[in-house]
Amino acid sequence: MDFFSRFAVPHPSPAIYASMVAIGLTVIAVIAGLTYFKKWGYLWREWLTTVDHKRIGIMYLISALIMLFRGGADAIMMRAQLAVPENKLLDAQHYNEIFSTHGVVMIIFMAMPFIMALMNFVVPLQIGARDVAFPRLNALSFWLFFAGAMLLNISFVVGGSPDAGWTSYFPLAGNEFSESVGTNYYMFALQISGLGTLMTGINMITTILKMRAPGMTMMKMPMFTWSSLVANIIIVFAFPVLTVALLMGTMDRLFATNFFTTSNGGMDMLWANLFWVWGHPEVYILILPAFGIYSEIISTFSKRNLYGYKSMVGSMVIISLLSFLVWTHHFFTMGQGALTNSIFSITTMAIAVPTGVKIFNWLFTLWKGKIVITTPMLYSILFLPTFTIGGVTGVMLAMSAADYQYHNTMFLVAHFHMVIIPGVVFAMLAGLTYYWPKMFGFMLNEKIGKIAAWVISISTLVAFMPMFFSGLDGQARRMYTYSESTGFGIWNMISFIGAFGMAIGFALIVYNIYYSTRYASRDIGSDPWDARSLEWATHNPVPEYNFAIIPQVESSEGLWDAKKKGHVLFKGDYEKIHMPNNSGVPFIMGAIFFAWGFSFVFGLWIPGILTTIGIFVCMALRSFEKDHGRYISVKEIEETETKMRGAK
């Protein structure tokens, strides 16, 4: 019965009990609502068992938005705690758990699913395909991600959250110094969702390489597809490292091995190396698709082709290679000597060159264009200067001698937030607004959208610029409090105001979704933005089979050429379309993986063994299954197409 004592909240506080009640009530409300409106069957048939890349994309999107608010709530709590010196709002343990989960949630469970959402939704449409290469694997990827996300999210009410930072450096993350099950949650949540990501990587690469529409050679792929391809190649190389590192960490924690602990020859630096060999490429997994989104949007709303297409592709390939050669800059201060530091200092700075090429290419895309400022375009324009500030401070951090002073300070925190928020979050919000009509068949309100974009970007500056100063003034990161005499108070107060402003901005986006769902026109045609690439050549929202006839393209801007040069995209007659069947197995496997992770977190060996068997049973069943999919008849296609066109 030893483990039951570990189920109890190790660091109870009224906030945690309140959250428990809130979670309980929400679950009851959802179950009651589904039963009352008789939606269980709908939910199961249309969503939980779906293998349609568009629906999976939408589920990723919803998860990402929910996680954005979870991670955002963590952020607000942190900034509130630090707003004044010697604040008693949170204690040290609580603060440590909050910043650890904030990092994990935002990187792994917010940014990753956000890019997965757009990749899943857009890439097959952009290359004129009917689905991804392995639709059922795609569903499994999503449910593994979801299982991991839920596992981490229950940690704060059952057993305690990870408290060793999102980097989970050993030996701090070992049993000796982190006794609660928090770090076990970290290991399993990341492991499970990481497996899902790795599968997505393989799936997307295959899709992009094998399923492009006739005529679309590699150098005619739209930029978002290119960026997704490069990002997924990075995934396939980087994620196995994470898998292995997490496995070793898990062994240390559960089975008393000594890979990273301090006794019996364990090496704490080995964790730092493995973590960042995955962790730094991870940053580029996030940022490259974001760059792809910006390329699409800037070119669409400048009414011009993307300037320097070839150098855009080239710079991404170079970034992907360099991303694997810079990990040591995360621990310049570990004492590896001036030579090693110098090498990694140079490789790190080198990344600024291809990134600069991209910035200048976007600026030149605006040149001689006809710029229309819509909400997605506004995000892209606000991204350029803010990201540049984040980027150049990255170059400053790359100077190893100076990094001895920046390392582990608020300066670093300011830098990576100024890169990731404008780089990834703005891109995802821009992409969300841009592709919203494709996903749901109506547009988000432009006025509210623009106000939100301004509020979020100004608040980002207010929240993170002061950290550059407090960092240079000696404020280390992850300090839960500081004394008045340090003089950090003013900077942190400004940051808190900025964080609060960001919360208002994100709330505005939710309000926009609500408002537009109620009032926006459904009569928007298939190409409301006057866009350039293939995804806008089919109806809004997209029918199950994407394209009634597979398009034939001659350039990276198929739709634009069809509109302007009279190219014919769709040649020939309707033919029956082969589609995969829905399957409940991915969802069930996700659920089993969740139970598997939970069992191992608490060292419940019998359920652990049973769920392990369950996972293999699911895989075995699949191998014996004979499922050849189904056909959509020509008659059905005709009906759908007439209905869709009628809705114009």
């Binding site: 060793a164 030149f364 002073q405 390392h407």
Partner: protein, 305 residues
């Protein structure tokens, strides 16, 4: 050269004003290492500001000049593939900047990793700085004394810190004397610092190490040589000896005030140096030989494990 100082001092003034007339700690160096780093930081801020301004200016120009509302309705933007010249400039200038910064970075890195400039001929004072949850222990082997949570150092003499930890990874940082370095349980890192002027400085652990991390700080006081020697004598006369039991007690997790002892723990609990550190198993004879006279031997040996 004069222009450079005008720019430097004006930027420094802006920073000073922004912080309410008190310079930011890192940009207010009191030793040669921190000075090197502060100069690097200021220089890179200037260079990077230029880039930011160029991007801002280009963006504003494009937005003003090419807004749809400023153009005729039938204007059709041209199809422009790109230009070799433009792209050569976009690659060339950043490459030059990166080369310049790389040279700076490498040069300064070697500087901060060796005996401080101007102190080459002076014998360094060796201090072992070890962290335990959540305290700092400073052993002065030469003086045969040990302090907890505070540090007295002489000015005008290079200090060689030997860093290690009795627990999680910590980072030893005195912003005004120089940047930080990690203290770990399985190896000893060397950090070279020096104080040019007497004064009191803030020192802390900068790497998150659990619950008591925020208060994991120590005071540093730099003083002229005579005063330092007086202090050492006083400690030797008044402080209690550091016994093994006492040290075990000190190692227990928690916060402690400042305290002083005669003798060090280095005797009964040697630091993870050389063959003692479980880390250096493969060290061969030549490394052993060089370990005694070279400052960088530790770091080099650790790359070979």
């Amino acid at each position: 050269m004069k222009f450079k100082w005008v720019v430097l001092s004006s930027i420094f003034t802006i920073f000073t004003l922004l912080t309410g007339c008190e310079p930011l700690m890192v940009l207010d160096p009191k030793g040669p290492q921190a000075k090197t780093q502060a100069d690097d930081i200021i220089l890179s801020i200037i260079l990077m500001s230029v880039i930011v301004i160029v991007v801002f200016a280009m963006l504003v120009y494009m937005l003003i000049k090419f807004r749809a509302s400023k153009q005729s309705k039938d204007y059709e933007p041209p199809h422009i593939k790109g230009s070799l010249l433009v792209e050569a400039v976009c690659v060339g200038i950043p490459v030059l900047i990166v080369i310049f910064l790389s040279v700076m970075s490498v040069k300064s890195n070697y500087e901060v990793e060796s005996t401080p400039k101007g102190y080459e001929n002076k014998k360094p004072l060796i201090i072992y700085a070890s962290s335990s949850n959540w305290k700092w222990h400073f052993s002065y082997p030469e003086e045969n004394i040990e302090t907890v949570n505070y540090l007295y150092i002489p000015t005008d003499r290079p200090i060689e810190f030997k860093l290690y930890s009795y627990g999680p990874i910590t980072s030893f940082w005195i912003p005004q004397l120089g940047g930080q370095k990690y203290a770990m349980s399985d190896m000893v890192n060397t950090l070279h610092l020096a104080a040019d002027v007497p004064g009191e400085f803030m020192g802390r652990n900068a790497n998150f190490s659990g619950k008591g991390f925020a208060e994991n700080t120590f005071n540093v006081e730099a003083m002229p040589k005579d005063e330092f020697e007086e202090w050492v004598e006083e400690v030797k006369e008044t402080a209690k000896p550091l016994t093994e039991e006492k040290f075990d007690e000190l190692l227990k997790p928690g916060h402690l005030g400042q305290s002083t002892y005669t003798g060090t723990h280095l005797g009964f609990m040697p630091p993870p140096e050389g063959e003692h550190g479980g880390h250096n198993h493969s060290s061969n004879d030549s490394e052993k030989a060089s370990a005694n006279d070279s400052n960088e031997s530790e770091t080099e040996a650790h790359q070979n494990h």
